[in-house]
Symmetry: C2
Amino acid sequence: MIAGHVFIATSLDGFIARSDGDIAWLLERDDPDEDHGYDAFIADIDVILMGRGTFETIRTVRPWPFTLPVVVLSSSMSQADLPDDLVDEIRLVDSAPEEAMRMLEIEGHRKVYVDGGRLIQSFLRAGLISDLVITIVPVLLGEGRRLFGSVAADISLRHEETRSFPSGLVQSRYRVEA
Amino acid sequence: MIAGHVFIATSLDGFIARSDGDIAWLLERDDPDEDHGYDAFIADIDVILMGRGTFETIRTVRPWPFTLPVVVLSSSMSQADLPDDLVDEIRLVDSAPEEAMRMLEIEGHRKVYVDGGRLIQSFLRAGLISDLVITIVPVLLGEGRRLFGSVAADISLRHEETRSFPSGLVQSRYRVEA
């Protein structure tokens, strides 16, 4: 069975970026000497799925940070919107979460990294996320792009592990209960 | 110096109650056999400060859960709004956060438990909170009364301690950086 996995950082008040996409507040509180487990997480992933919002915030990052296939789920983007050097790295798919996951499953993928606030929200609503690693950054921003959004009904989680780091980051792993 | 202290539980998506004040989702995930530190916290407090919203959600709780003096900060409540048996337990004060804290300081209070979402938000904005114990409940509610709100500028926190419980609750203590 294919499943979506989340690995994301948020301010204590639930924002993954400022309204304009800025994440300097996160980077300045990150200690590059600390291992927050991203490499181990991504090593176990087949394919990366993100929405347009997340793609736009990283489109200029070079070297391109992913070696895995990246799928951008968007109904508004076309090939012409991709930087020339990323045309072979990124696949644009215009479909709903369930369809996108079915397509990826048919292709043989099993572990999907679902990245970005709006995509995480829609995949949670569709029941397509199996677990979340949430890293809480010790700051209150007051406003910005929210990690979580509305849900049709409560989503119960099973807490699996929490660890904290000298930098002040607190990381918890939750499993979505069926 | 007088200081405000926060001790509160929130869903992973940042809600302290549903929109109608309901906290059954919290109570059903609480394990009364676990010691989450409330008794130790409250033993070190002089006076409890809450807003009308929080008071309304607990006004019918008997036995009355506090032995400490309780001050309800409200511009809309009058003595007539208090249940008869609480008239001697509760003081109504209609003043801004700074004034309320100055009044309590003059009275000799030093450690104030600031309870309730809107009051915590206004006290954070006024720089009157020194530390927060936040207990995260493993559920996504999607909507309700938020713990945090807008801030005039980023509020940096220093992470002091995190512990998790078999029930799945994760409790972190933060100090507000000056």
